[in-house]
């Protein structure tokens, strides 16, 4: 590393670099200018022509990089990384009803999938029962519909819960689905301690981003801390929440903002958990992180490496974490549709491959892959297979997984890593100065930042400044190729409504109503609602009823749109 070079050597390199610029480089530039006057990353960061030891001269190998599996984890959270085992290859699954989804899960397990992610439809994501008027036309459209234990249980018939890891992309109602998962485990005779999986459960990112928010932000923080406290005590192998690195539903922000704003959010959760009386080393090891990789290859890799280092430092230096696991920033790349194009969908296989490769080289622990038809709808069976195949080819054929952090030491990657880390620190400070993350949700600051970036991207695509192959450059007039799309089942909404009606009819309704009342009572205090929610799902109280009871006490939020 440059730091290992003494002053004389650095000066020698500096002289040589100057000479190269004035002779060899100059001659070439005179004959043939570069393609552009200024090279910018997709997020408008200047990219230099060449990186040399001079760009990393402040880097201290043992302090800033160290060794994989050791603080500050820049080179990876595990000493052997993918030589030990490849990343968990996930595939987003979930549409319509439980029975259909289960068949696809089983098919994926046969194809070699060891963990799977469940996606839910919008009513489920917002905690609305299928017979709620607001759920009309939405049931099963974008994912699985679940509103009571009887919907959820059949999903895992013949799938022992101690043999799978389940990731659920669900936010506000996550504690209710988690309670259902525990209830299914109990029925299967599987001990809670053996359950492993992840809930997305990043509530603060919903406001102004994916927008599936329900309660006001401060109630959301309490709801969050309640589940995390319950989970670390009862399901030690479970990750109660994976926190997103995303803003405004897009990843087009500069990488330092993406990391800095996300960490400002994540630190808000940590403060909430500490306030709720948890010890940092009790829950921090169970946090995991969803970090997108974009098609901007090196920036993505450096962003993941910078995130790992900065998180470790924040945990140790700011929060005084003593458990090394508290400092391990475990990354899941969930696949991103942002860089995918509507035009010539098969090109998206190439784009997704670049994203997956970036997250592998960035040291992700679990990966999903964007599906080539994702810009249109829920991935079809064919595209689901291609997602898995993409990862398997990278993992088993390309050999990139055989060396730990193979880009470590690259002048460019290291310079970029340090630059992103420094920038992210300033962004964290910026949010603090503006009154904290919740204030920045409420006053529209973060929404505006994201909207401005998205508009800028759009304008650049329209002027052709930003090339999207097949969309605004090298366009061929071609008939739209019919895609094999997952068609929603028109009967599903009726079936789900029928099921929930029957559940309400057949349950012990006095008991159900009593539980709903008790949830309301406890929500009004500072006590934990988790044990009651577990009792309630087992007594066939529906998700919509539980959420309504909480809304009665905590209120419902409306975000004023800002752009």
């Amino acid at each position: 590393m440059a730091v290992d070079l003494n002053k004389d050597k650095l000066e020698e390199i500096e002289r040589a670099a100057r000479e190269w610029e004035e002779t060899t480089l100059k001659r070439t530039l005179e004959k043939r200018p570069e393609r552009k006057e200024v090279f910018l990353s997709n997020a408008w960061q200047p990219i230099r022509r060449l990186y040399t030891p001079l760009d990393v001269k402040d880097l201290d190998y043992t302090r800033d990089l160290g060794f994989p599996g050791e603080y500050p984890y820049t080179r990876g959270v595990v000493p052997t990384m993918y030589r030990g085992r490849l990343w968990t290859m996930r595939a987003q699954t979930g549409f319509g009803g439980a029975e259909e989804t289960r068949e696809r899960i089983k098919a994926l397990m046969k194809a070699g999938e060891i963990g799977f992610s469940l996606d839910f439809d919008l009513p489920t994501q917002l905690g609305l029962d299928p017979d709620d008027p607001r759920a009309r036309n939405e049931v099963g459209r974008t994912g699985l519909n679940v509103s009571c234990l009887k919907d959820f249980e059949p999903l895992f018939e013949g799938i022992p819960l101690d043999q799978v890891t389940t990731s659920m992309t669900i936010n506000f109602p996550a504690p209710i689905l988690y309670a259902m998962y525990l209830a299914v485990a109990e029925k299967q005779g599987v001990a809670w301690e053996k359950l492993s999986g992840t809930l997305q459960f990043d509530l603060l990112k919903e406001y102004g981003s994916l927008n599936a928010y329900v309660f006001p932000p401060r109630a959301a923080l309490r709801w969050w801390a309640d589940l995390v406290a319950f989970s670390v005590k009862n399901t030690p192998r479970w990750n109660p929440c994976s926190l997103w690195m995303v803003l405004g539903g897009r990843i087009c922000l500069p990488p330092d903002q993406l990391v800095g704003y996300a960490f400002a959010k994540d630190m808000t959760y940590i403060d909430a958990a500490l306030e709720a009386g948890l010890d940092i080393d009790e829950f921090a090891p169970r946090l995991s992180f969803l970090a997108p990789a974009s098609i901007d290859f090196f920036e993505s890799i450096a962003r993941l490496r910078a995130s790992r280092r900065l998180w470790a430092r924040i945990m140790k230096e700011k929060y005084g974490a003593k458990n090394p696991d508290s400092c391990r920033f475990r990354i899941y790349y969930p696949g991103s549709a942002d860089d995918l194009s509507f035009k010539e969908p098969l090109n998206n296989i190439v784009r997704a491959t670049i994203q997956v490769l970036a997250s592998v080289l960035g040291g992700a622990r679990a990966i999903d892959c964007g599906a080539y038809d994702e810009a249109y709808a829920i991935p079809s069976e064919e595209s689901s297979r291609v997602k898995l195949r993409t990862q398997q080819i990278i993992g088993y054929e390309s050999r990139v997984a055989d060396v730990v952090d193979p880009l470590g030491g690259s002048y460019y990657v290291e310079a970029l890593t340090s630059q992103i880390e420094e920038g992210a620190k300033s962004c964290i400070k910026e949010i603090e100065d503006l009154g904290g993350f919740v204030a920045c949700i409420e006053n529209g600051f973060l929404q505006r930042k994201a909207a401005e970036a998205a508009y800028r991207v759009q304008r650049e695509k329209e002027t052709g400044e930003r090339v999207v192959v097949g969309e605004n450059a090298f366009v061929t007039e071609e008939e739209e190729r019919p895609l094999e799309l997952h068609e929603p089942d028109p009967e599903l909404e009726r079936r789900q409504m029928e099921r929930i009606r029957k559940v309400r009819e057949e349950r012990d309704n006095d008991r159900a109503q009593a539980l709903i009342g008790r949830i309301r009572d406890v929500a009004a205090t500072r006590g934990s609602v988790m044990p009651l929610i577990l009792e309630a799902v087992k007594a066939d109280v529906t998700m919509g009823e539980i959420m309504q009871a909480l809304k009665d006490v905590w209120g419902e939020y409306t975000l004023v749109p800002a752009f």
Partner: protein
């Protein structure tokens, strides 16, 4: 032309979907093109949209869809508009809508369906060419 009142556009996201990046981009582009934009926000029902349409006396309704509810929603909205005699309003839609689905929306009264890849300039032009000059008041 420029002396006339600006074209008034109401944008909304119907249903439960929260993907509002696109609709905000369109809102910014229409605003930069000199139109008056009212963005109602998320989770709008057909009833809410029709009420706002009448109150604000808009020329254009633009709806953004990403969760495959477009057919059912547009049919409900069009019936409500008809009930209120709110005809002559240009209704356009955008988002993740396949061409085959877009073909079904047009006979229902949707003037044009724009995909996520549509340049915003095309939307601006379409609105300018298709809004009937009714605002003389």
């Amino acid at each position: 032309m420029s002396a006339e009142a600006p074209i008034k556009v109401l944008l909304a996201k119907p249903g439960l979907d929260g993907h509002d990046v696109g609709v905000k981009v369109v809102a910014s582009a229409l605003r930069d093109a000199g139109m008056e934009v009212i963005y109602l926000g998320l989770r709008q029902t057909a009833q809410q949209i029709v009420t706002a349409t009448l109150e604000e006396d808009v020329d254009v309704i633009g709806l953004s869809f990403h969760s495959l509810i477009h057919e059912a929603f547009i049919s409900e909205l069009m019936n409500l508009l008809k009930e209120k005699n709110a005809t002559g309003i240009l209704v356009i839609a955008g988002g993740s809508i396949l061409k085959t689905h877009a073909q079904n929306l047009k006979p229902m009264g949707v003037a044009e369906v724009f995909g996520v890849e549509t340049p915003t300039q095309k939307i601006v032009n379409f609105i300018r060419e298709n809004v009937k000059p009714k605002r003389g008041h």
